[in-house]
């Protein structure tokens, strides 16, 4: 029973049931919280099923449960169903867990929302969870692509949840179109791959790849196209620009979609098809370099953000790039491992940030400070998350990050390896910058003459859900009096924090069988760079022994470029405008001179020809008789001699 994929299917379908119930039963949806309970109930059942399914598939057990779809000429073009194995059920469990926790958390976080909006939110959440699970369990590329697009749609809907706000609507569109750009490549890649191998099925394709039956000629183009899809979804350079803007959505959404699950779909895809990518080492090298570069770029960007969610967003980009780098180095298991641990602690960080925003009514780090006193529990779990992200021993990110570093080094990529070490340092620095600024240091506003390293108000417009909360706070009693969040929010935080620690402790002592050998100095170097980052953050923002401004000045050009987001967004905007305007101009020219020109010419000809023909119409009856007679003559000639 458990081994045949039914449980995985149940986990998948429970969310679909929740979505359908909420979508069809509009009165229930408009009730708000009861709608949430329906979703949460289904999510809980889904989690149970996912865990059981994971236990059943640990090891080598693989079960396929597929139905024929799109039959063509006696054979099946595509199927739908589930492909449950160790990786997919593990991922399934992560998705189910985070989805459940986020849904519980949302009850508290979005308690100020109107009932219909809340119902809508939960309907989207269920749809997302269903789509994501469908993606994870997809037995073939067709289902995978459909779910891939579905999660993109949910991402769009949830980023634009507060669609009345122009910034949110714009961010939703941006996310949608930028990821679409990658998806085009993905779709082309899938179709090309089908022509190449004659199947969409992952398992069949894997057998083919194992037999060496897939021709290598042209395969690099295909894998690169598929990688393009991952670039869009997992926010790799240069398509990473949508993710920070996606923070316009509610924080739980950011935690679920834009940290733990959807954005990792690209990494998951590459992990899922690593046997295919292994055939094209050139593409893998591109993956490593782009991964390392994106990791460094976004880590630098994260250091200058003042918006707490944007720091986390860039951190997510950076960590996703870490995973990509490991996969590119040929050790996709390491990337997948980091994906799982990252999913846990990044969800924790986002939810913690949400609690902080909930309490401080602001996204801006400069508005915070000494929050640890007011909300000690949040401070603890957030610090746990930060330590995990920094990769310290006993915490979740420790081993997975080290694995990645080892993988990249073992893959023979020295320069990317160095970049990633630097990123490890930066990661610790920007994470603890947030921790100190938000929870422990004096509020900046009180600390006269010490502007934070980041340009204050550089992104003042990005006060995402803070402004939303502030408006509610104005109506509430204790305005601007930070307090511990309600139990519905604390519970998920603690669950995630304990999981992070548990995973960390477990893997600190139980090393899994490594696929490669890492030198002994790797772990001290990794941990050392992280500790150095933490210390620098402490010295700068807690003790203020190092002036943040002078630190910024020391990295003058980099600092200023980072503030401008390295002008990548501007380049995109310009390119977009240029392309659109150029295209419009071409179209305009064609319309004006070709389409209209032809029409004008035709009409002019018609007029002149009619003017000429008009003279035939003499108005004299006899001329017409003459014409008839000539016509008769011609007719007779034709009949007799034609």
């Amino acid at each position: 029973m458990a081994g045949d994929g039914t449980l995985a299917l149940a986990a998948l379908l429970l969310h679909a049931v929740a979505f359908l119930v909420l979508a069809v039963a509009a009165p229930l949806r408009r009730l708000g919280r009861p709608a949430g309970y329906v979703s949460i109930l289904c999510a809980a059942g889904s989690l149970a099923a996912a865990v059981l399914s994971w236990r059943a598939h640990a090891g080598e057990a693989i079960s396929r449960l597929v139905w024929t779809w799109l039959p063509t000429e006696g054979q099946t073009l595509a199927t739908v169903g589930v492909l449950a194995d160790a990786d997919s059920t593990l991922m399934l469990t992560l998705v189910a867990l985070v989805a459940l926790l986020v849904q519980v958390y949302s009850l508290g976080y979005l308690s100020d929302e109107s009932a219909p909006a809340l119902g809508r939110y939960y309907a989207y959440q269920s749809l997302f969870a269903f789509s994501m699970m469908g993606l994870v369990l997809a037995p073939n590329f067709v289902q995978l692509f459909i779910c891939w697009e579905l999660v993109g749609l949910c991402s769009y809907l949830l980023i634009g949840f507060w669609y009345q706000r122009p910034a949110a609507a714009r961010a939703a569109l941006k996310a949608f179109w930028i990821t679409k750009a990658g998806d085009v490549g993905f779709l082309i890649g899938i179709v090309l791959l089908w022509r190449h191998t004659g199947t969409f099925d992952l398992a069949e394709m894997r057998v083919l790849a194992g037999n060496g039956a897939i021709p290598l000629a042209g395969l690099a183009v295909i894998t690169f196209c598929i990688y393009l899809g991952a670039v869009g979804k997992s926010a790799q350079f240069p398509l990473h620009i949508w993710l920070p803007d996606a923070m316009e959505g509610p924080t739980p959404v950011s935690a679920l979609i834009h940290a733990a699950t959807m954005v990792t779909a690209g990494v998951y895809l590459l992990h899922r098809t690593d046997w295919l990518f292994a055939l094209t080492p050139d593409v893998l090298a591109i993956v490593v370099w782009i991964g390392a570069f994106t990791a460094l770029l976004s880590a630098v960007l994260a250091c200058v953000q003042t918006d707490i969610k944007r720091v986390l967003a860039y951190s997510t980009v950076s960590q996703l790039s870490y995973m990509m780098a490991a996969i590119g180095a040929g050790f996709s298991a390491a990337g997948f491992f980091h994906l799982l641990t990252h999913g846990i602690f990044k969800a924790l960080l986002f939810l913690g940030a949400g609690a902080v925003i909930h309490a401080a009514h602001s996204n801006d780090l400069t508005d915070m400070g000494r929050l640890a006193r007011r909300m000690p529990q949040t401070a603890i779990v957030f610090t746990v998350g930060a330590l995990s992200l920094a990769g310290l021993p006993l915490f979740a990110g420790f081993l997975s990050k080290e694995e990645i570093l080892g993988a990249v080094r073992a893959g023979g990529f020295t320069a990317p390896f160095a970049m990633l070490i630097l990123v490890a340092f930066l990661t610790a620095f920007y994470m603890f910058r947030v921790v100190f600024l938000a929870f422990f240091a004096e509020p900046v506003a009180l600390h006269a003459g010490a502007p934070v390293a980041a340009g204050v108000g550089a992104h003042a417009s990005h006060v995402a859900d803070a402004g939303h909360h502030a408006s509610h706070a104005a109506a509430g009693v204790a305005a601007h009096e930070p307090h511990e969040p309600p139990a519905s929010m604390l519970l998920p935080l603690w669950v995630l924090a304990l999981l992070s620690v548990a995973i960390g402790v477990y893997f600190t002592f139980v090393h899994p069988e490594p696929e490669f050998t890492s030198p002994a100095w790797l772990m001290p170097v990794a941990v050392g760079s992280a500790v150095a980052g933490i210390l620098l953050a402490w010295a700068t923002y807690q003790r203020r022994a190092i002036d943040a401004a002078s630190l910024a000045a020391a990295f003058g050009p980099i600092y200023r470029s980072a503030l401008a987001r390295f002008w990548i967004d501007d380049v995109f905007e310009r390119a977009y405008l240029l392309a659109i305007l150029g295209f419009s101009r071409v179209i305009g020219w064609i319309d004006r001179y070709l389409v209209d020109g032809v029409l004008n010419m035709l009409s002019a000809w018609t007029v002149t020809a009619a003017d000429d023909l008009r003279t035939m119409q003499s108005g004299r009856a006899q001329d017409y008789v003459y014409g008839i007679a000539v016509g008769l003559l011609v007719l007779l000639l034709w009949v007799q001699f034609g």
């Binding site: 003459y626 007679a629 008769l632 003559l633 007779l636 009949v639 007799q640």
Partner: protein, 164 residues
């Protein structure tokens, strides 16, 4: 040469000659008279074809009726103008070529066909047969013709009514 053939040739000469005169005479009044002659000649042709009744109708209606109407019209218009209406032609060459071409082609078509040389013997009275056919098989058309005549008559009176 039989009597029929002699009669035919004579009638043909009269007919063609008067027809040419109709279209070529300068004097309109003379042209009408030539037309009367042509119509009478046609009546003769009908007689040759054993159609006495048609010949009678031709003489009464055409030669009598139409010619009278036309003469009336000429007289009326001439009186209105106050001068004799002579008529001239134009595009004679072009008209001749076209009309000649049409004629040549029709004759060419006629020549190529095989026609019954002898006419079948008519049994009984042809006039009576025509009358019976008109009153039986074509009675509806006949009635409609009556309506048409009435309408034409009223239209003609309406058009030609004196100025108020």
């Amino acid at each position: 040469m039989t009597a029929d053939a002699v009669a035919f040739w004579c009638l043909a000469v009269v007919l063609v000659g008067s027809a040419l005169a109709v279209v070529l005479t300068k004097n309109l009044f003379h042209a009408v008279l030539w037309l009367a002659l042509a119509l009478t000649g046609t009546a003769g042709v009908f007689l040759l074809l054993d159609a006495e009744f048609i010949a009678a109708v031709q003489l009464l209606l055409y030669a009598g009726g139409i010619v009278t109407i036309v003469v009336f019209a000429i007289v009326v218009t001439e009186r209105l103008v106050g001068e004799r209406i002579s008529q001239t032609s134009r595009r004679i060459a072009g008209g001749a070529v076209v009309a000649g071409g049409v004629l040549a082609l029709i004759l060419n078509a006629v020549r190529g066909q095989v026609f019954p040389a002898a006419r079948p013997e008519m049994v009984g009275d042809l006039t009576r047969t025509v009358g019976e056919t008109v009153m039986t098989r074509f009675v509806l058309a006949f009635e409609l013709l009556a309506v048409l005549m009435l309408a034409a008559l009223m239209g003609a009176i309406y058009f030609a009514r004196p100025d108020d």
